[in-house]
Symmetry: C2
Subunit: 121 residues, 2 copies
Amino acid sequence: MLNQSMALDLMFQALADPGRRSMLERLTRGPASVSELAKPLAMSLPAVVQHLQVLVASGLVKTEKVGRVRTCQLEPTALRSAEQWIADRRMVWEKRLDRLGEYLAATADEEDENAKQASER
Amino acid sequence: MLNQSMALDLMFQALADPGRRSMLERLTRGPASVSELAKPLAMSLPAVVQHLQVLVASGLVKTEKVGRVRTCQLEPTALRSAEQWIADRRMVWEKRLDRLGEYLAATADEEDENAKQASER
């Protein structure tokens, strides 16, 4: 079992290649054999197999051999955990910005109030 | 200007390292100088600077030099586009599963209906 950080390394590494992203894109539309995966890509079958191994190692794809055909399928749990890591960081950052906005608005109100009181004196 | 695919390569590549993810994590809590970024990490300042360059090249972080201090800040647009890429694929996949579920449920209903009619004859 990989620890969480190593799992994220492998997943983001797997996502960092346009060929592997094309393969994932294809698999979102349903399971496919290795040769079906290779067909639209401008690369050799061995290159496709190598990319597939990276995808499998990352947990994003699983394969199953039935008879002579190896079928590849998306593993959504891994996709979701990569997405969640980014979303969590983005939300912390956005909350921080919201608090900053509220603070600045409150400070501006206070300044308006002070200016009003000063002009009334 | 980078094209969309190259931009994704650089972003996912940048996210594929635990040290760089720690730096992003720190920046979600607010801007930081390079030495503040380096402090909690078990790596040399040159290594931190190198990781920072990868983060800047990916568009995830921007830096600004004011006087003698370089301040680093998160760039949420890039974070959001990496998240969006994953979310879009996950949603296509989940919709496909939903349709498959509906189809299987409809088929099961039809079979029940046929079995009922057969037993009534």
